[in-house]
């Protein structure tokens, strides 16, 4: 009667094998590696880069343990951290500034495990050390900036259409345009509706005014664009830090999460993230005499020799020190195409910027103009196009000699020079690497000792049934770790606490079963039926109690944040695995041990004391 059909055993065996396989990578540890990636689409990391890296390492007599391309990045493994750091310096020299070269730790698990997507658990920042920031984008500033830009656009549009207007006033979220009469009012309304579809118009016929406000969908678009642009900017800055696996993502409508695992110098990280890059427009000096002089080492007064980033590597360029325009006057930069279909970058300037730009371009036709990104005192020329004609109206187009990928990169860099809206750090968690290691150790120790205490007690108290309970508890740990590794859920310290707690609670199911079996025996039932009845009666209770625990777990998962969520994920998964292991797996063990015996006279669930006998 206590026999499982073959398929049930098979389910258990398969579950065990799969769990074991996916738990395995966690035991291999990690090897030091150098990871090479690129931010610019025009400079992909490919086999050519791989060959260059291999050549450079060979020249310095460094033999890597493995070199392979993975997605958009190249990973090179090394024996130890000394070689790793030496290799990084060599690779940096060989490749120059165009690539992100980061130290990383890669799982040392063998290839065949990686092939079946068996990877070690993903450790949270509190376990591996690193920085976590939550940034909030100031949406009001983003909207203000947009309204300012629209005011400029309207002015320009009305001038172009020769519509005479009085003033354009901005109060908060609305623009008020004062016009002369009914006729100009109608004309202005028509012009604005056509060119600026993002605005809601309300004409006041009595006062000849036009009230303009942003449409709700326009506000949503501006806000999401602002967040996106800030994310791009953050990406650029993070790249400079050489972090192997940065996480930069939107969290909620106006927030951005930045996670930099394994960052050693947290102060530097904060510095770089928090700083403001500026974009400057300056004139280029192409006079051969002055250029040669500068190249020889004596830069003329009022000039500066800067690097220009080209796909072929950096080249020197001589620019004036006078700044004509800054990123503050740039509203937007987008990749696109010019009228001939060639890749181009479109830049939108605000009204002040447009005015200055018209003047500068008018005076310098035929000369080159450099767009310079200044970050932390280091200036870099993003692009230096030739001025072909006077450019008015605030819409600038840079084209010629670039492919779509380069246009994309240039637009991105130009945008990086100006944050769409100011950002503020509203949450920070920094964990030093040594604390992370300690946290893992402590979390592991508490789980281990707790498990040991429970195991000893169960063995002493329930004998064979205790052993079976401990085994199924072990299976529970195995399955939980396997599940976490499979899902690549982030394991945090509260997550480890949840593993421990789940084990402490999971044993409840086995205690319930064992006590029930004892009770049935006490009531005089034969052993085989006692097992059957014990499991059957305990099941309803186990289900009920797990459901209530699950309700609490799910509520934590939904409403919790940060550490609470890390706890809840593991807790919920643990409840699921414990139901499987405590009921199905432990019954499997029991059936295997006792189920085959026809005449079973006693089972070992510890001493069973009967009150009747004692009374005599």
């Amino acid at each position: 009667m206590n026999r499982y059909p073959l398929w049930k055993y098979l389910v258990i065996v398969v579950a065990l094998i799969v769990s074991a396989l996916y738990t395995l990578p966690n035991f291999y540890g990690e090897t030091p590696a150098v990871q090479i990636s690129s931010t610019r689409q025009s400079m992909p990391v490919d086999t050519a880069v791989m060959e260059r890296v291999e050549g450079a390492l060979k020249a310095h007599q460094i033999t890597p343990d493995g070199v392979y391309l993975d997605g958009g990045s190249l990973k090179v493994r090394f024996k130890d951290t000394d070689v790793q750091i030496k290799a990084r310096d060599v690779i940096e020299q060989a490749l120059g500034d165009n690539y992100i070269i980061a130290l990383n730790l890669l799982s040392a698990s063998p290839q065949w495990l990686t092939k079946i997507h068996a990877n070690p658990m993903f450790l949270g920042l509190d376990l591996r050390g690193g920085v976590h920031f939550l940034l909030e984008v100031d949406m009001k500033a983003a909207l203000d900036k947009t309204m300012e830009r629209y005011a400029g656009d309207i002015r320009r549009e009305l001038k172009d259409k020769k519509i005479r207007y009085g003033t354009i006033r901005r109060d908060g979220e609305t623009l008020t345009v004062q016009l002369r009469d009914q006729e100009t009012l109608a004309a202005a309304e028509k012009a604005i509706v056509r060119t600026l579809p993002g605005l809601n118009l309300k004409a006041d016929d009595a006062n000849y005014t036009l009230k303009l406000a942003l449409k709700p969908e326009e506000i949503t678009r501006i806000e999401s664009d602002a967040v996106k642009q800030n994310i791009t900017t953050l990406h650029n800055r993070v790249n400079e830090l050489g972090v192997a696996e940065p996480v930069i993502q939107q969290a909620g409508p106006n927030r951005i999460v930045v996670q930099l695992p394994g960052v050693q110098d947290t102060a530097k990280a904060k510095d770089i993230l928090g700083r403001t890059a500026t974009l400057q427009v300056r004139l280029v000096e192409d006079d051969p005499g002055k250029v040669n002089e500068a190249m020889a080492g004596s830069v003329p007064m009022g000039y500066e020799l800067l690097d220009e980033m080209t796909p072929r590597g950096p080249t020197k360029i001589l620019v004036k020190k006078d700044v004509e325009l800054t990123g503050d006057n740039i509203n937007d930069a987008q990749p696109g195409f010019d009228e001939n279909g060639a890749p181009a970058v479109h830049i939108g300037l605000d009204s002040t910027g447009a005015g200055i730009f018209r003047q500068v371009t008018a005076e310098n036709i035929g000369r080159r103009m450099a767009m310079i990104l200044v970050e932390k005192g280091k200036a870099e020329v993003v692009t230096a196009p030739v001025i072909r004609s006077e450019i008015g109206g605030g819409r600038v187009q840079i084209s010629g000699s670039m492919n779509p990928a380069e246009a994309n990169d240039t637009a991105l860099l130009l945008r990086a020079g100006s944050l769409a809206a100011p950002m503020q750090i509203i949450e920070e968690r920094t964990v030093g690497p040594s604390l992370g290691k300690e946290n893992i150790q402590k979390g592991f120790n508490s789980t281990l000792w707790g498990f040991a205490a429970i195991a000893v007690f169960m063995l002493v108290y329930y004998h064979v049934f205790g052993l079976i309970s401990v085994l199924s508890l072990g299976v529970n740990v195995l399955m939980l770790v396997a599940l976490l590794s499979m899902l690549q859920a982030t394991l945090t310290l509260p997550g480890i606490a949840a593993i421990a707690l789940t084990l402490g609670m999971a044993i409840d199911a086995n205690v319930l079963i064992n006590e029930r079996v004892r009770e049935e025996l006490r009531n005089g039932m034969p052993p085989q039926s006692a097992i059957q009845a014990g499991y059957q009666h305990a099941w309803a209770t186990i289900l009920d109690s797990n459901v209530t625990t699950m309700i609490a777990g799910l509520a934590l998962l939904i409403f919790g944040s940060g550490p609470v969520r890390g706890f809840a994920v593991v807790h919920c998964l643990g409840i699921l695995t414990s139901m499987f292991s405590a009921v199905l797996v432990s019954r499997g063990f029991v059936n295997l041990w006792y189920g085959r015996r026809r005449r079973l006279s006693s089972i070992s669930v510890g001493q069973i004391w009967k009150p009747e006998q004692e009374a005599k």
Binding site: A267, E428, S545, I551, I558, S561, P611
Partner: protein
């Protein structure tokens, strides 16, 4: 080996008055401490900055305090954390200084005194985030309570559901009372622990209720009063109650002993919660159900009268 050799049913229900009094007194005390002392909320809720630094030798707290005070960052707290080498620095929210700069400033000031000082941890939470977390925490608590009530009402009977949730809320209030009394730091992780306790100790009530229902249905117990049936149910599950809670408690104590500072609050909340969980589900939930007038009829639906009058 059998730990609990109980010859006769223990008349738990006859202790009703006594246990209710004890519960009421502890509950009132807990509420009193909650209001008089208040919870020592962590930065996660209040907003502010907490830094942990480690020195290679014993830290000179007075020196650290002096250096931090000289930065004029408002009312800063400096205390040792666990060992004499670890120092905890707490700074209030400051309007015009960004958090990133704040901790950098402090670290630079400390480095000027001892270059060996290592930054172990920084936590900064803006005031708006703190308010949000409090709100989310309360929502989570409410949802857990409602969810459990709904499930128990569906599975058992509303009297059971209500008495279980009251018993367990009483646990939660007592945990919070302890945290208020001893001014232990109440962080998000502790909140997670408290909510986990809520889910967990309801288990206990479920096990007892399950037994009560089973006993009501047993024909051999028809002559017994409701109180006797409940006594029997508790007595026959007490062994399991003690053993399970003992196991969980062992796990939690292991966390308290080996888990270090980071898990301390969490483990503490659970340690208290589990002890009171046993007490409340046995000696609070069941008497409450009895007081709410639970009867055999509530558990056993009368068989539907199938034989209708034959016309």
């Amino acid at each position: 080996m059998e730990l609990f050799r109980i010859k006769r049913d223990i008349p738990f229900m006859s202790y009703g008055k006594l246990t209710t009094t004890i519960s009421l007194v502890t509950f009132i005390l807990a509420v009193f401490f909650l209001f008089s002392k208040g919870l020592n909320l962590s930065v996660e809720f209040t907003g502010g900055t907490v830094m942990e630094v480690q020195y290679t030798q014993s830290a000179n707290l007075a020196d650290v305090r002096g250096r931090v005070d000289r930065l004029k960052l408002g009312e800063a707290q400096v205390q040792s954390l666990g060992t004499s080498r670890d120092v905890l620095i707490r700074l209030p929210v400051k309007k015009d200084v960004s958090a990133a700069q704040l901790s950098n400033q402090v670290l630079t000031a400390l480095k000027a005194g001892d270059t060996q000082v290592e930054l172990r941890k920084v936590e900064f939470v803006g005031p708006s985030v703190g308010a949000e977390l409090v709100e989310n925490g309360l929502i989570a608590l409410t949802v857990v309570c409602l969810g459990i009530i709904a499930y128990l009402a569906l599975r058992f009977e509303w009297r059971f559901a209500v008495s279980a949730i009251i018993a367990n809320m009483h646990d939660v209030v007592i945990i919070l009372g302890c945290f208020a009394l001893f001014q232990w730091e109440f962080s998000l992780t502790v909140l997670a622990g408290v909510l986990a306790v809520l889910g967990y100790s309801v288990n206990e009530s479920v096990v007892v209720f399950d037994r009560i229902r089973e006993n009501f249905r047993k024909p051999g117990m028809k002559h017994m009063t409701t109180a006797e049936v409940i006594d029997h149910a508790i007595t026959s599950t007490i062994s399991r109650t003690m053993i399970t809670h003992g196991s969980t408690e062992a796990m939690v104590l292991s966390m308290l002993l080996f888990g270090g500072a980071a898990l301390h609050g969490f483990a503490m909340a659970l340690t208290i919660g589990i002890v009171f969980g046993i007490y409340s589900s046995v000696l609070v939930a069941s008497p409450l159900a009895l007081a709410l007038g639970i009867k055999r009829e509530h558990m056993i639906k009368p068989p539907k009268q199938k034989q209708e009058a034959v016309v």
